[in-house]
């Protein structure tokens, strides 16, 4: 289940950033149908990303692997998705860059750093 959880987290992050970049690119073109497809893709991938984010957090809670990084991840997802939903396509490039950057930093040890400094459980 640990592998499952990590894979789901990576997929969620990739979905969010990938869909944001894809839609931003498609919306720059003049074609309305391309933009419409981009919106559909973003909606689909955004939904999967949001639900996966909740699922990963729940899985970590159930298995006792939760720590401060779990809730920071949920917060970052909420802010990213909220910004895109409220501001619209103008926010997509910024959200994509910040989301991707956070995802890479998190996978490269950022989560452990958060837990070791502000964690409520001792990191395993």
């Amino acid at each position: 289940m640990d592998t499952w959880s990590t894979a789901a987290g990576v997929v969620a992050g990739a979905f969010e950033s990938g869909s944001a970049i894809g839609t931003a690119q498609s919306l720059r073109s003049i074609s309305f149908s391309t933009a419409k497809t981009g919106l559909k893709v973003t909606k689909g991938l955004g939904t999967v990303g949001l639900v996966l984010s909740g699922l990963v957090a729940t899985h970590e809670v159930v298995t006792g692997q939760d720590n401060t990084h779990t809730w920071v991840d949920v917060g970052v997802t909420a802010l990213g998705i909220g910004a895109v939903a409220v501001i619209g396509t103008a926010a997509l490039p910024a959200v994509a860059v910040i989301g991707l950057g956070y995802g890479i930093w998190s996978a490269a040890g950022g989560s452990d750093w958060i837990d070791s400094n502000w964690g409520y459980r001792k990191p395993k």
Binding site: V48, L55, I81, A85
Partner: protein, 131 residues
């Protein structure tokens, strides 16, 4: 009640491409995370066990996807959002004070959903695996 809630979210979201879709997404995401929070709180209050099985996670995820797609189909797919706007008034005609109030309510509800999820999640974590 959901019509009025949708109208509040619709008035708060910046107009532009996919306006109705974005408002529906914001509303359904809030409802989804309040539902997850309620589930966490109920588990703690009733001292139930949480199933760590693949079937549980599939159900959990399907519920989330279902709520978001259901809301989109209900408000946007059926064109209901147009009737809601006709029923109240065009968001463009809203006075500044009312628009600010609607933004305050919708952003508060959206952020509140995630705060509730985090708070109930930490409560559940403490109940399942105390530290």
């Amino acid at each position: 009640m959901f019509d009025k809630l949708y109208y509040i979210f619709h008035s708060s979201v910046k107009s532009g491409f996919g306006h109705a879709e974005r408002a529906s997404f914001l509303l359904s995401a809030s409802v989804l995370f309040y539902s997850y929070s309620l589930y966490f709180v109920l588990v703690v209050l009733t001292k139930s066990r949480v199933f760590n099985t693949t079937a549980f996670y599939i159900l959990f995820g399907a519920f989330g996807v279902g709520i978001i797609y259901g809301a989109s189909k209900y408000f946007v797919g059926t064109g209901r959002y147009r009737r809601i706007i006709d029923k109240y008034e065009s968001p463009r005609l809203l006075i500044k004070g009312k628009r600010f109030l609607y933004r305050f309510i919708s952003f508060g509800l959206f952020l509140g959903a995630f705060v509730a999820f985090i708070a109930s999640g930490i409560t559940l974590a403490k109940y399942l695996n105390p530290w």
